[in-house]
């Protein structure tokens, strides 16, 4: 009896220890970041809009230049509690004015803070993990040109056990994977692979389209078999539409219809963009036309998700 108990205790301790190691925050290799050189703020601005940082870190409903004031404060209501987007302006105390490019790259690709804590995936680093370090380097140099905004946005409001950051490490083990979601173009033989891959990069990486358009499982991980197949809106009202090439649905949009929607906000039947897609569309409108076309080409050549996800 005693032996059994001991066995259980040892096993429990081993599991806890394993859990502790498995949940340890990870980081980029230091040499990789050291060799980046100075970034290009002009490309960095395009990366900034493609990644939608301002949708969460600028004041809610900010327009024009106010989108560049990254004082934080947006409240993201989720089943796990409320996440508050922090101040990521250049303020050295309240924001990230003292950060190095390595700090930003670790946050965006590993979800790890400068002092070694795990970030919650409400910060969409599971998508940003697919970004090129050169783009993050350029983004960093652009963010350096943005204003410092004082003030702390306040803490997250999460219930136990979601308030334990360490536990996020296990989530990262399960869901943080920089590999592409769709390995190769599906269906169309006449797809230009270079354009399709550019579209894939923008959608799966900086654009983090999957974070809203893909359904999640009970621990908040994306269900990749239903990639971009539509999901209940996180805001609790309505649905985020299926944007895979399903017949009788989004499949009727051509690649240039998709590009035109991202540019103008109008669907092929001249309905207007709405809801949480408005800031995304306005950001996409700032990219080069070839990038919007590439997104259209990618969305036309991915697996069609029908049925349950809708």
């Amino acid at each position: 009896m005693k032996k059994l108990l001991l066995f259980v205790i040892v096993l429990g301790a081993a599991a806890a220890l394993a859990g502790w190691f498995l949940s340890a925050p990870t980081r980029l290799d230091e040499n990789t970041v050291a060799n980046l050189g100075p970034g290009d703020p002009v490309n960095g601005e395009l990366v900034f809009w493609a990644s939608g940082c301002s949708s969460c870190h600028a004041a809610p409903e900010a327009k024009g230049d106010d989108k560049l004031k990254l004082g934080g404060g947006l409240r993201l209501e989720t089943p796990f509690g409320v996440f508050v987007a922090p101040n990521v302006s250049q303020d050295p105390n309240d924001g990230i004015g003292n950060w190095s490019v390595a700090d930003l790259a670790n946050a965006m690709t590993h979800g790890t803070s400068p002092d070694g804590q795990n970030y919650y995936p409400a910060f969409p680093y599971a998508s940003y993990a697919r970004m090129d370090l050169a783009d993050i380097n350029d983004l960093f140099s652009f963010m350096k040109t943005l204003p410092a905004v004082g003030g702390d946005a306040g803490p997250n409001e999460l219930a136990f056990p979601f308030n334990i950051r360490r536990g996020v490490g296990l989530w990262k083990r399960m869901f943080l994977d920089p590999a592409p979601v769709v390995a190769a173009p599906v269906g169309g033989e006449d797809v230009d692979p270079a354009i399709w891959e550019r579209g894939r990069y923008l959608v799966e990486g900086p654009g983090h389209c999957g974070e809203c358009h893909t359904p999640r499982d009970f621990v908040g991980g994306l269900i990749l078999s239903d990639w971009l197949g539509g999901a209940p809106a996180a805001t609790g009202e309505g649905r985020v539409p299926n944007i895979t090439p399903v017949s009788g649905g989004f499949g009727s949009w051509s690649a240039s219809d998709i590009a035109y929607y991202l540019e103008s906000g109008f669907t092929p039947d001249y309905d207007s963009v709405g809801g949480e897609m408005v800031p995304v569309q306005e950001n996409m409108a700032r990219l080069q036309a070839s990038d919007r076309e590439a997104i259209g080409v990618y969305l036309k050549a991915i697996p069609a998700v029908s049925g349950a996800a809708q």
Binding site: R239, F266, Y270, S272, G274, G275, V278
Partner: protein
């Protein structure tokens, strides 16, 4: 041909929409959706003109603007309490934040009013004049859809 049939359908929808306001209202959801669908059709005509897919004529430009005008004056009347129950994409925010919704209606009406004035009797003389008149109307769609319309 495409231009003409599209214009005629738009004008008739616009008339239907403005008549609707005077009638008894037993299907506010259906009525407002019909009005918005005339807005979508007018936007389609306007967008087609702007993109050069449909040859520009002042009459076509005027038809698009007039349909928008009629819709902007009537649409707000079709959101009585309780009309958020079934088969609608109207967001609950319309009833939770009526003042905010009314402000969007007012913006829509102001933009169409200015466009009507710019259009004059004959319609905007050329495509540039049309773009200048219609542009601000197009700008009001997403600001209302952002907060007050959901996709199901």
């Amino acid at each position: 041909m495409r231009t003409i049939s599209k214009c005629i359908s738009i004008v008739s929808i616009a008339i239907a929409a403005s008549l609707g306001a005077a009638q008894a209202d037993d299907d506010p959801i259906g009525d407002r959706q019909a009005i918005m669908s005339s807005v979508g059709a007018a936007a389609g005509l306007g967008g087609g003109l702007m993109k050069g897919e449909i040859a520009y004529s002042p009459a076509a430009g005027k038809a698009a603007i007039a349909a928008m005008r009629a819709a902007s004056l009537t649409f707000g009347d079709y959101f009585p309490d309780g009309s958020n129950a079934s088969d609608t994409e109207a967001a609950p925010a319309i009833w939770d934040n009526r003042a905010g919704f009314d402000a969007e209606i007012a913006k829509f009406a102001a933009a169409t009013g200015t466009a009507m004035e710019a259009a004059g009797r004959a319609g905007p003389a050329d495509l540039d004049a049309f773009k200048a008149a219609m542009g601000p109307v197009f700008g009001t769609c997403k600001s209302c859809h952002e907060g007050f319309r959901v996709k199901n």
